[in-house]
Symmetry: C2
Subunit: 342 residues, 2 copies
C-alpha cells in the first residue's frame, strides 16, 4: 500500500511576528542558520518515505504561491486550498477526500509543517514502524513525544503500557505546570505533537462514525467545506475512537512555539546568547537571542532574557518571559491601523 | 566692553553611540523632537548677548565641516581647530589667544556645546549678571548649578556664602553617592557645569601665574599647542587661583551625559516611555526610551528600563542602568575591527 503525506500548512504562526506576517506565516520562514524553510524541512525529512507526487499540502488560498515556490516538486493539483480556515478535523478530511481521487486506500502520514525534528533518522524509523502498524491493523496512530521537561504548553497523551506502540488511555488538554510535573514523573504521559498515521479507510470510517455530519457534507461535495464545524481532530476523533494508539517518539522534536525556540534550534554561545545576524556585538549580556537582516550592526549592553528581531520594516525587542504578549502586540498594531506592518 | 563666547566643541560624545560617531559627536546631533543640534541650540541660546562674529568655536580639525555647516553665521576665521585633543586649559587659552587678535580685552563666556538648558531666559539673566561682575572685578567666575538630586556623576563646587555670587571655598571631584547626598543636604554645594566667565585680561593673568609653562609656549606661538600639557581648566586654574567666584544657576540644566537624558529632555508618556520615532508600538513596557530613524516600525513587549536606538547602520538595545558600559561596547567594536561602525 502506498504511503502518502498530508502536510498541514494553513497556520498563521503569529507568535513569530515580525518575521511571520499575514502573508508569510512561520512555516514558510527559515528560522535556522541555513536558508531552508520549515515546510521545506518538513518535506525533505520524509523524502525517503513518500514520493513528491504523494505529498498533499493543505493550506490557505493566500499561501498558494508560497507553497508552489517553496515546494517545487509537489504537483500543483496536490496543493489543497482551504477556502477559509477551519480546524484540523475538516482540513484532514478535505485532504483525505482529495487523496481518494488518486488512491482507493493508502497509508497517510499527517504532519504539521512548522516543527523541528533533530534526529531525522529516528523520526523516519518511527514513521516506518507506524505505517506498518496501521497497514496491519485498522487503527489511528498518534505520535507521542517523550517529554524532556514539564511543559504546560502542550497537550498530553496518557498511554496504557510501556510498549513502543500502546493503546491511548486518555488525551489530556494543556495542564498546569504542577500537573505537568506529575505527568512527566509518572512516565505514562507523552506530548501530543499533532502527528497522525492512519489509512484512508480507517480515518474514513472514523469520520463516518464520530463526525457524521462533516463526513456527509464533505463526501457530498467539497464545496460544503465552509459549512462544516471548526473542530480539532483530537476533539472530533481521537478522544472518541476506540482504536487510537500512540507510538513513542524520541527524536528531539520542537514545536517552535515562540522566539525562544531559536536558541533550542540553533544553540547558544558561552553567554547563552543565540545570534543569527552577520555583525553583532554584545557587552555584559546573557540569554539574548538575535535575528537580524544582516544589514545592520546589532549591539546590546547589559541585556538579560531579551529577543531582538529585525526585519526590513520592523524591529521587535521583547522580554523572553513575555513572548505570549506578541498577540497583544499584533492586536495593538491593528488597532493603530498600521496594517501594512502585519 | 564687548562680550564674546568660546564654544567648546572638541568632545567625542561617545556615550551617545550609535547616534554619535567618530565623525559625528554628540554636539552635532539633535537629541530632541526638533532638528536643531546641540551646538546650534548652544549658539542660538546666547544670540541676545553675543554677536555671531564674536562667537569662537573650539573644535577638532575633523569637525570643521560640521561646524561650518551647522553654524553658518559664525565666521570661518572664528573656528579654532585644535590640531590634537588636549584638555580644557590649553583649549581655552588657544581660544583666548585667537580672540586677542581681534580684541585687547573682552568679557568671555566659555560654554560647552553639548548641554541642554530649559529655562533660557533665566540662563541669559545669569550670564548678564556674570559678565557685569567680571567687568567690574578682576575675577574668574564659574556657574554652579543648584543640584536637583544627589548625583555622583558631577564635580561639586563648595560656596562660601548664600549670595547669588559668592567666593568659591573649594572644588570637589566626583563624590560617592553618599557624599553627594551630604553635599545636597548641606545646601553649600553646587554642580560644576564647565561654564566660565572672565575677561581676557583676568584669564591671561591667571594663565601667566598658574600655568606659566603653557602660557609661555602659547604666547610664543600657537604652533606650540601640541607641546603643552593636557590638563583641565579646573585643575590648572580654578582650584589654584584666589579670585574664583561662583554664580548660582537654576535654569534646568542637563549635561546630557547618557541616553537617559532623552527622557529628561523630551518628557515621557503615561508609562514613563519616551518615543522619538514615527511609528512605535509597545506592550506592557515601562521606562523605555526609543530613538529611531522613522523608517521602521519599532515594537517592544514586556520591556523595562531599556533604551533602543536605531541608526541607518546600527541598532543598539541597552539596559538603562548599564549605559556606562557603552564605552566597553565601542571598545569591543574596535577590537572586532568593525571600525566602519564607529
Amino acid at each position: 500500500m502506498k504511503t502518502i503525506a498530508l502536510i498541514m500548512a494553513g497556520g498563521k504562526g503569529e507568535r513569530f511576528y515580525p518575521a511571520s506576517r499575514n502573508l508569510l506565516p512561520k512555516q514558510f520562514l527559515s528560522l535556522g542558520a541555513d536558508n531552508e524553510t520549515m515546510i521545506q524541512k518538513t518535506v525533505n525529512r520524509i523524502r525517503d518515505l513518500v514520493y513528491p507526487q504523494d505529498i498533499f499540502v493543505l493550506t490557505n488560498k493566500n499561501y498558494l504561491s508560497l507553497v508552489k515556490e517553496q515546494l517545487k516538486d509537489v504537483p500543483t493539483e496536490n496543493i489543497v486550498l482551504e477556502p477559509l480556515s477551519k480546524n484540523t478535523a475538516p482540513a484532514i478530511e478535505l485532504g483525505v477526500e482529495i487523496a481518494k481521487r488518486k488512491y482507493d486506500d493508502a497509508k497517510v502520514i499527517v504532519l504539521p509543517s512548522d516543527h523541528i525534528i533533530k534526529d531525522e533518522v529516528e523520526f523516519r524509523r518511527i514513521l516506518k514502524m507506524a505505517t506498518q502498524f496501521v497497514e496491519n491493523k485498522e487503527s489511528i496512530l498518534t505520535i507521542g513525544i517523550k517529554p524532556t521537561e514539564p511543559n504546560d504548553g502542550y497537550g498530553y497523551i496518557k498511554i496504557s503500557d510501556s510498549q513502543e506502540i500502546s493503546k491511548v488511555a486518555e488525551f489530556k488538554e494543556k495542564p498546569t505546570i504542577e500537573v505537568a510535573k506529575q505527568y512527566v514523573e509518572s512516565g505514562n504521559y507523552l506530548w501530543n505533537a499533532g502527528m497522525f498515521i492512519f489509512t484512508i479507510k480507517s480515518i474514513d470510517n472514523a469520520f463516518k462514525k464520530y463526525m457524521s455530519n462533516q463526513h456527509k457534507l464533505l463526501t457530498e461535495s467539497l464545496d460544503n467545506f465552509p459549512k462544516v464545524e471548526s473542530i480539532s481532530i483530537d476533539y472530533g476523533i481521537m478522544e472518541k475512537a476506540d482504536n487510537v494508539y500512540c507510538i513513542k517518539g524520541d527524536f528531539a522534536w520542537d514545536d517552535v512555539g515562540s522566539w525562544n525556540a531559536l536558541k533550542r534550534i540553533n544553540g547558544e554561545d558561552e553567554n547563552q546568547n543565540t545570534i543569527l545576524n552577520d555583525k553583532t556585538v554584545l557587552v555584559n549580556s546573557t540569554n539574548v537571542t538575535i535575528k537580524g537582516t544582516n544589514k545592520k550592526l546589532i549591539t546590546g549592553v547589559g541585556l538579560k532574557d531579551i529577543v531582538i528581531v529585525e526585519t526590513d520594516d520592523v524591529i521587535l525587542v521583547a522580554n523572553k518571559n513575555e513572548l505570549s504578549d506578541i498577540k497583544k502586540l499584533t492586536a495593538k498594531i491593528k488597532e493603530k491601523q498600521l496594517d501594512e506592518y502585519l
